[in-house]
Subunit: 366 residues, 4 copies
Amino acid sequence: MTHLVYPGALHTRFHHALGAMHLMGLTIDVLRGKGHDITKEEEESANIAILLHDIGHGPFSHALEHSLVNGIKHEDISMLIMEKLNVQFDGKLTQAILIFKGQYHKNFLTQLVSGQLDLDRMDYLNRDSFFTGVSEGVISFDRIIKMLNVLDDNLVIEEKGIYSIENFLISRRLMYWQVYLHKTVIAGEQVLVKILKRAKELSSTGTILFATPALSHFLTNQISEDAFFKSDIHLAHFAQLDDQDIFASIKAWREHPDRILSRLCKMLTDRNLYKVEITNDAPDVDRVQRLKENTEQALNLTADEGRYFVFTDVISNRAYNAGDSNINILLKNNATIDIAKASDLSNLESLDKTVKKHILCYPRII
Amino acid sequence: MTHLVYPGALHTRFHHALGAMHLMGLTIDVLRGKGHDITKEEEESANIAILLHDIGHGPFSHALEHSLVNGIKHEDISMLIMEKLNVQFDGKLTQAILIFKGQYHKNFLTQLVSGQLDLDRMDYLNRDSFFTGVSEGVISFDRIIKMLNVLDDNLVIEEKGIYSIENFLISRRLMYWQVYLHKTVIAGEQVLVKILKRAKELSSTGTILFATPALSHFLTNQISEDAFFKSDIHLAHFAQLDDQDIFASIKAWREHPDRILSRLCKMLTDRNLYKVEITNDAPDVDRVQRLKENTEQALNLTADEGRYFVFTDVISNRAYNAGDSNINILLKNNATIDIAKASDLSNLESLDKTVKKHILCYPRII
Amino acid sequence: MTHLVYPGALHTRFHHALGAMHLMGLTIDVLRGKGHDITKEEEESANIAILLHDIGHGPFSHALEHSLVNGIKHEDISMLIMEKLNVQFDGKLTQAILIFKGQYHKNFLTQLVSGQLDLDRMDYLNRDSFFTGVSEGVISFDRIIKMLNVLDDNLVIEEKGIYSIENFLISRRLMYWQVYLHKTVIAGEQVLVKILKRAKELSSTGTILFATPALSHFLTNQISEDAFFKSDIHLAHFAQLDDQDIFASIKAWREHPDRILSRLCKMLTDRNLYKVEITNDAPDVDRVQRLKENTEQALNLTADEGRYFVFTDVISNRAYNAGDSNINILLKNNATIDIAKASDLSNLESLDKTVKKHILCYPRII
Amino acid sequence: MTHLVYPGALHTRFHHALGAMHLMGLTIDVLRGKGHDITKEEEESANIAILLHDIGHGPFSHALEHSLVNGIKHEDISMLIMEKLNVQFDGKLTQAILIFKGQYHKNFLTQLVSGQLDLDRMDYLNRDSFFTGVSEGVISFDRIIKMLNVLDDNLVIEEKGIYSIENFLISRRLMYWQVYLHKTVIAGEQVLVKILKRAKELSSTGTILFATPALSHFLTNQISEDAFFKSDIHLAHFAQLDDQDIFASIKAWREHPDRILSRLCKMLTDRNLYKVEITNDAPDVDRVQRLKENTEQALNLTADEGRYFVFTDVISNRAYNAGDSNINILLKNNATIDIAKASDLSNLESLDKTVKKHILCYPRII
């Protein structure tokens, strides 16, 4: 939904997957150049693992997880798809799957796919900067990659890369607040979640809704996590589902007789989104109640229907998580030290704190 | 369909319209700075005219014009939409419409909207370069704009801008062959044209096809030019129609019982496009016939059905058209001279020649 | 000396002065657009003030201040030059001088020339990023300028610019450590300081040195602060002095009979610089003494001569100084708050701490 | 002298040499990937050859060749320096020298160093574009390199690279007229040539001139081509000579008693250059004579002295030279064809024509 604020941001997971795989190639060259043994087969497997790392994401992944495909984790779907591909390609993905799962004996390959310094993040920050024009997200991915090394089977950063890593962590934090959690982006995502919830609700009570075949499958069936992984039919439909199914159907629902659904769909397609307030403290309960009542009255809604238009939620972001998989700096004496300690300022330690914010959404009409 | 070759090229007419309007603002500042009187109202009108200059384009404009909405010119649809907006905005678009139609007394404003040096081209060349990564298309739009002037109510370029104009004309030519008329782009567009033709054909004989409401309208109705402009219902559906309607429907048609439609749709969505040959001379008739027969046999098609899979066509491009609206260079003595004469090389004169090429398309399976 | 590490960094104060003036123009447009009254004359004066803000810097400003022109502040020289220009231009710089001095009644104009958010910094961070290729220094100068406002005659940043300011402060900090205080840059500057000190020392004892006329003036005369500002002759020579005088003379001194001078000059021109160690704690006194003794022995030097080759010093950097001229954020309720408080993380507060580091320099030969 | 027009253009031959060597590395990777055998030693030699290909250029190479070091070709000096380095490095440059001279059996390596598609041009066009900001010079060097191939020991371009080559040739032509032969650049170079000629003239008649040691050597000695290559002393001084010697000396000559020398030096350092007229036809002889007489009168000069201030000359540029070393396109059938024939427009053939222009220079004072 970032394109609602930054119209150029129409880039896709396909670009990102190709880009991350490209960075994997550069990284493997660098690590080999530093004497680390990586076989041709491992290179291919690492490339496959990063190429497919996001394959299980549906369209508007987070919105969908909160509405149509509750409780089914995208990591598990990725895993399922890889295993199906592995059958199709005669077991050639076995090693890639081990790397993806963190079960391959060279742990640093897994860290390149998923970790504090993985090539996923190296790719998306610069890509998102490029397509949004938000220069705060620019990182020196090429320099960071050149500073990567492996010690005791763990990825480390050579000492002189420390400022580039600081910049990387800070950039990531800023991109969260400036782009990914921008007020208008949140407003768009929340409308979408509510649309899909309403559509599902209507479907479950027998109302007929126009929908593409793939979307129809998920509207009209209540699929448990168990069921999803038991029968191929669900994955087959899931694989066909993309943004176009959602958007094309929403456009058709503008004219649906259900007042709530049609209003929500018009809000999204006419870009007449919720007003969103982001605050450090929880919004005042009385005010929320008042907004809700006013909205219900203005739109002639029941209290139950009102929750589609006025509601609160919590968003959060932690730039750096100094847990098990922290970023280690390789000193010249071959010792390592956590980046938050190596930095000469305390600013990095503060990044380790989760920042939680409250959001309050309500329609602009009142 | 450029994104089939350059995945980043997902930018839209919306970006382009905003960008061209932005350039209009810069240009008006420059012209005012050179002493040309442009009122506030004219500025607003010129901005509106350029903002809306492409509004009548449907999705995949050229493909659609050859299949679903035959014989209805996008310029006329733009005009119709502007007139409807003019009613809605109490006549505030009247001047913009005059500029768009070339009927306003300051002709140079029309030339900025549509002409050899219009801001349409200034915007799209650099935008397409940016999103495709094809650096050959980069032009000095900012320098060209600074060199613009008006003489006798016509846009002219000051003498020292001549090399930037040369570069602009050459860049445009190169972008045509490298991007817009790239073999794979043509292949994608041709598959799309054939899909829409087939769908229309099936619809017209009563076959039921899944389609979004907007697309359905154009599949099931045969709308003449006259009819289109007489009843509001057609424009209402046209305005709702976008890429998502087309793509979402094509995805559904993969499973349609009609063998031709489903095969074509799979070709597009599986990126298994026609093989395209581009040649200076017309392809050998016998060879085309042979390809056709082989294809018909392989796919078990009638001769009539075969034309969906093997066919020829002509594409063309003329970089610079030294006709009525040529590019004039303003010399220091205030005389003007056509760019093709002003350039010290004959290379620009050669740009005035239309380059025609032949294309031959056939499936990869044979 | 940055070009020793980043060869592209040959940009000059001339570029920077033009760039900062360009940003002044943009900023004044923005502030006028927000309703702040800035007269044509004030615009010209602000432009002059920023154009000339660095005019008093000699070549290798800091190195020179520690060797040839001790105790003469570049701000005072800038002032002197502006006053001379003011005489030449019949008093047209009077207002610019007031702005430069902070004595003009619109204080925010002075803050644009010199303050926590001045256009000096806006320009040099991006310029240095561009020419060094260090992407960590990229800031959103254009967005920051659009977020500038004036409250009670003070520059403030509108609330939604807060992340861009965070990025600006962090970028500045990173550029210090990655570029301006890079080990090799320090090594180059230190060699230069020692060369100039030695040359001055030799000159003062009557040794004849090749030098361009301008450099010769400062080598052979001991000029006090008082004297500098009393007689025009000193400024006349100072104005002629630039990098070329220094470098051309150093090249000639490679062959000077003084062993110390010629060795230092060869170190610089052959890029055989000091080894520099940067540490948080002061280097071990015994080790420094040992290095000094070894060097003196290896090069056959007296203890007094040894200080040209082995020495320690302190460098420091404070990214943000929350003193009188702090950065204030303009909230929506028109209240202001210091950026360090407005940020949702404590990382900005940590930027307020001066970071001091110790350097130890010694020749690579030992 | 390009920096007189484009202040950012302070980049040096050092950058260019590094850049061209970098491109050599990329190219060798590409060619190896296409199955062409290039040994490690050949790679090193090709790298050395391109790194040193310009080493014999003095400062302001062309200006110097017309004044101080007449008749000594920079290619011969490059050769001499390589041979001296070869002695110093125990013959390790022997193969590089063969490649540089065109005597190595793999001719395509020589073509990469010097030819219509050499890496010299690939580097300087983009580099000059970057530092001047003239976007017309941007070429797809990376794409061109990927399209390079070798056939019968000659560099060829694969067919689909043809548009990138067209763009490269056109860009080069435009950069000549827009940058390298810009009026103000020519004016600066011509002043410099005249300064050095006058200085040499004065020196040869015994006038004492301030000069750095290296420059002094070439002012006070008349060195024939023979002499230059016979004694090491000349090369030793030549190797020390750079822009700083020239500029630092010119600054000193502003105050020289010779009226002509001091006037010329002030013209350069005060940026009060000749007025330059560039025309397709030779300037009118009578007008030139009149300008000369006026100038002589205004400045109180003899006719002989007048030639320093009013004069004509010829400049020329041929974008593409379809001679022995033409650019061959590799067709899919493995035949090759000259680019000028392969292009579908005649514009490339026109590039084969040398464009000659006349210049007329005179001071602005008259």
